[in-house]
Amino acid sequence: MKAITAIGSRLLQTLFVLWAVVTILFLMFRLMPGNPMAAYIDPNFTPEQQDALMARFGLDRPLWEQYFIYLGNLLQGDLGESFFYRTPVTERILALLPNTLILTFSSLIVAYAFGILAGSYLAWKRGSRVEQVAVPVVLTTRAMPEFWLGMILLAVFSFTLGWFPAGGTRPPGAEYDGYWALYTSRDFLVHLTLPVLTLAIYSQGLPLLLMRSNMLDVMKEDFVTMARIKGLSPFTVVIRHAARNALLPVTTSFAIAVGYQIQGNVVVETVFSWPGLGRELVRAVSASDYPLAQGAFLMIAVVVILMNLIADLLYALLDPRVTRE
């Protein structure tokens, strides 16, 4: 019963945060310097088009009324029309979302696989030379600007060695029958490699350091000592007994990492001209395409908020002590 109330209040909190972020977004885009209509109306539209849009978003009404129209439109998935593409923002954003998600998840899977293995290894080799060198090196990868790492990889592997293409998702002019054909093509994977590598090098530090410090905690526990006394091989002790128990907090951190990654994608997508949400946000903001910028921002925020929720729920699910308290 307690678990259900805990989950219920966490869901309510999520709704509250969503509402607050949506409201902040509304205020940011309406109260910015310049024409308050600018958030929806392109000055290049004809007067009739402008009037139609004014009515649709209630821009001739007082601010509080506009706010409720905005909320109503949002609930129906209506984010307005892009100035640049002249198509609904929602359509555009949903078309870009898969690219961003593929980039995010493939890089995080690589980062977590490496981080978990390397983290356990470093915990096992605790106090050795390898460990003394590895920990500062890992901290240094966290200190890199992601886009700079992308630039270096581009300069070396694309422009100097010519092994990988310089950006985008497909060769110029290539056409595919639908999304599935594109995502499974060899071209796509080749284009995906450098951005994924960039993000993976940057992200592996979190699971690695987390895994290492959890392992160090778990290795002190009685059941690990017991396994050692039983005479099991060090490998069995580390992998079968310690690593399995140290994995839990690393698993929940994956959801948080998705949320962080999707914000950080903005720069890496720009470096590699990867057609995702982040690059679209940057382009929309530079081109004063406010409806599109607002929509892309909102979509990124929704992913972040959902991932925070999933992390908390996972944590409660995997470690019942959290809800029982």
């Binding site: 969503l18 607050a20 630039m151």
Partner: protein, 299 residues
């Protein structure tokens, strides 16, 4: 010839220094502090160290634009940019904006986070609920996109990053310091102070703040790095202050001028290395504070 004032002043200086609680027992933290000291010296003496004006467009002896010169050519230590500007001088001047942004943003984050955390933790009740729900909202806002939108709406300025960090990034510091305050509040000496009639303000300043200070420094030293990385990203995306030379600006300039396909490594590698050095120095120092705070955790 002894000056009676000197020892007392030295004592005061030492006490102020001790107030910073610098982690001077950890080799990595000392390395971090040394890197900071070096960058501070470079930033202060930037006009003396730089060989050229970082924004000046330079020409060769035969009146050609000194564009894309390799390091050492015509006496330019690290070569020149496509617009004929000196890379080395830009790198030196870049340390100024990095330090100014990093230190002010870190100060704001640590200050706001500590105040929120102490107030929420000490007073509890609706104050706590309100502040922590605010923190929840701050956790729901994607930081980099927020800075981009803010920087686009405000005038281009290096302070946009500082404002955005002050508005959003107090959240982590605030939560941690709140839970620290919650445990401190139940300690016997705080209880004793309360019973003996000390005011809330006095208890907070005397008993709570000194104990959360190392945590504030820990989060502050991480925030320096965040600020520098964020400024670099924002400048790289073209929302930075075009009038101030920063490492992020250099990288944006290099990327936009096709330095990657020209393989002008001498142009875009050094600014990145400087960022890595100064940000990881912050991480190293923060690990030193961690060891002060959690001695058992000494790994």
């Amino acid at each position: 010839m002894t000056n009676p004032d000197t020892p007392r002043r030295a004592g005061r200086l030492r006490r102020a220094f001790a107030g910073l609680r610098l982690p001077l027992h950890d080799p990595l933290a000392i390395a971090g502090l040394a890197i900071y000291a070096a960058f501070i010296v470079i930033a202060i003496f930037a006009p003396q160290i730089a060989t050229h004006d970082p924004t000046e467009i330079l020409f060769t002896d035969d009146f050609q634009l000194a564009a894309d010169l390799r390091p050492g050519e015509d006496g330019y230590i690290m070569g020149t940019t496509t617009l004929g500007r000196d890379v080395f001088s830009q790198l030196v001047w870049g340390s100024r904006s990095a330090l100014v942004i990093g230190l002010t943003a870190a100060f704001m984050v640590a200050l706001i986070g500590s105040i929120v955390g102490v107030v929420a933790g000490y007073f509890g009740g609706w104050t706590d609920t309100l502040l922590m729900r605010l923190a929840d909202v701050a956790f729901g806002i994607p930081f980099l996109p927020f800075v981009i939108v803010l920087a686009a709406f405000l005038e281009p300025s290096i302070w946009n990053v500082v404002i955005a960090m002050a508005l959003i990034l107090w959240r982590d510091t605030g939560r941690v310091i709140r839970s620290q305050t919650l445990t401190l509040r139940t300690r016997a000496y705080v209880e004793a102070a309360r019973i003996s009639g000390s005011s809330d303000v006095k208890i907070i300043l005397r008993h709570i703040v000194p104990n959360v200070l190392p945590l504030s420094f820990l989060y502050g030293s991480i925030a320096i790095g965040w600020a520098i990385l964020t400024e670099a990203s924002i400048s790289f995306l073209g929302f930075g202050d075009p009038t101030s030379i920063s490492w992020g600006y250099m990288l944006q300039d290099a990327y936009a001028s096709q330095a990657l396909s020209k393989r002008s490594y001498y142009w875009f590698v050094p600014p990145g290395l400087c960022i890595i050095l100064i940000v990881s120095a912050g991480f190293f120092i923060s690990r030193g504070y961690e060891k002060i705070l959690f001695p058992k955790l000494d790994r």
